[in-house]
């Protein structure tokens, strides 16, 4: 009890203490202080804690003090690839350079790197020093073979490898790894080659592409390349609207009959066209006419 009252009085003294020293401590009440029995135990442990900064000896006894930044412990001949092995945002505690970035205040300098969001926003190439690239090349070398010395001109390459396959890879940002434009592959064949063999190969490839693999059955709606109206929210909505418009009863038979109607078929065609081909004058007109016919407007 006595120790607790002593601690609170010390804490309050500590706050005033800081204020006198002119340290800009805003809202000390927001700090995570623990006013429980636990704090009494930790206070006895922290007495030997080294005093960091000029915040006074009594303040924040129950908080772990932040450590030194890594830049204080960096030798000059260190291995930089260990600090930035991959592409990572700028970390001011890991980069030992006095970088400043930003528009300066009047009669001031650009803001320092501590807490600077501008330095984090920009892409950095700290992981691509010449040494790091050399290391990458050394790691890749065992998997590479020498280019055959006989194939030194373009004409020789064309003669020995007449079939050329062009595929494009796209680097685009999104949740999916796949880019729909990357699915298009160009195959170029020059006619001086064995024509029958080339035709045979193309036929085999064509038939292979039609085979269904086991993992293809896991395809979800999001993976579909084209929009299909069956079992889509559009079909459900229009069915429920039409059922409500009809005075006769519910049931599967009514739904089947509604689906069979030509207006519903037209609506289905117009929605599929809009989604697959995108918006254009003619597709919008088609959609408008289909909706008008369906809802008897």
């Amino acid at each position: 009890m006595a120790t607790r009252t002593l601690k609170t009085s010390i804490l309050s003294l500590g706050r005033i203490h800081c204020h006198i020293y002119g340290v800009n401590v805003r809202n000390p009440l927001n700090r995570a202080t623990y006013a429980t029995a636990l704090s009494i135990n930790t206070s006895s442990q922290n007495k030997g804690f080294p005093d960091r900064g000029n915040r006074g000896p009594f303040n924040r006894r129950s908080r772990r003090e932040a450590g030194d930044p890594r830049t204080d412990r960096m030798p000059v001949e260190q291995d930089w690839t260990a600090v930035y092995p991959t592409a990572t945002p700028f970390r001011q505690g890991s980069v030992p350079l006095p970088v400043r970035m930003g528009f300066p205040v009047k009669k001031g300098v650009p803001p320092e790197k501590k807490g600077n969001l501008e330095l984090i926003k920009i892409p950095n190439f700290l992981h691509l020093t010449p040494l790091a690239i050399k290391k990458h090349c050394e790691a890749l070398k065992p998997f590479c073979t020498e280019w055959p010395s006989a194939l030194d001109t373009g004409a020789k390459c064309d003669e020995h490898f007449p079939v050329k396959v062009e595929s494009k890879d796209y680097v685009s940002a999104g949740t999916s790894l796949r880019n729909p434009s990357a699915r298009i592959v160009h195959l170029r064949v020059s006619f001086c080659v064995n024509y029958d063999y080339a035709m045979y190969l193309l036929t085999v490839l064509y038939h292979e592409s039609w085979k269904m693999e086991a993992w293809e059955s896991e395809k979800t709606v999001a993976d579909m390349e084209e929009y299909s109206w069956e079992d889509s929210p559009s079909q459900k909505n229009i069915m429920s609207t039409l059922v409500r418009m009809q005075v006769e009863g519910e049931g599967e038979a009514v739904r089947e009959e509604l689906l069979g109607r030509p207006e519903v078929q037209e609506y289905r065609d117009s929605v599929t066209r809009l989604k697959n081909e995108g918006e254009s004058e003619s597709s919008m007109h088609q959609y408008r006419d289909a909706v008008k016919k369906l809802l008897n407007l």
Binding site: A32, A66, P111, G115, E118, K121, A173, G174, T175
Partner: protein, 169 residues
């Protein structure tokens, strides 16, 4: 607004009266030019001088591209690329989610970077939470967001003692 309208109705009555009884030099006219309101987007107005602002808050939106960078960039805004609206909605959700999870701990806006299909969320935080709680919340955020978006989400956190003040307004 209502006061001026009633004022105008009074004036109109007076106009009618004025034309018949008084001469026209004593009447007031109505201004019919279009209203041009001041821009209030994302700007904190000048005050007493005791409000600390970060660099992000102090510079107005028309400085983006000149004195400020972009908080997130993605390829969907390029010619011929799609999915811009999806990326925008994802980013808004991520910002709101982090603002709520790390309540009162964020020192500045969140920067979102995309590397392939990985979402790297870079945050600057204040040292308000004990490290164990912070680590738990980081893991929780990463797991939940990865499950939502079906892509790897990485949270890169840097901590500060206090917010970096740029100027006082």
């Amino acid at each position: 607004m209502p006061a001026s309208l009633s004022c105008q109705s009074v004036i109109s009555v007076r106009n009618i009266v004025g034309t018949s009884i008084y001469n026209n030099s004593g009447t007031r006219t109505r201004y019919v030019t279009a209203a041009c309101c001041k821009n209030r987007a994302a700007r904190i107005r000048v005050g007493k001088g005791d409000r600390p602002l970060t660099y992000e808050q102090a510079l107005h939106p028309h400085h983006i591209g000149h004195r400020k960078g972009w908080l997130s960039q993605h390829t969907s805004n390029l010619q011929g690329e799609g999915g811009a609206s999806d990326r925008t909605v994802e980013e808004v959700f991520v910002r709101c989610f982090l603002f709520g999870t790390f309540h009162n701990c964020l020192a500045n806006e969140i920067v979102i970077k995309r590397r392939g299909n990985m979402l790297a969320v870079c945050t600057l935080m204040l040292q308000k939470l004990p490290p164990q709680k912070l680590y738990f919340l980081i893991g929780y955020t990463e797991t939940l967001l990865s499950h939502f978006y079906k892509c790897p989400v990485k949270l890169e956190v840097q901590t500060l003692e206090d917010k970096a003040v740029y100027k006082y307004l």
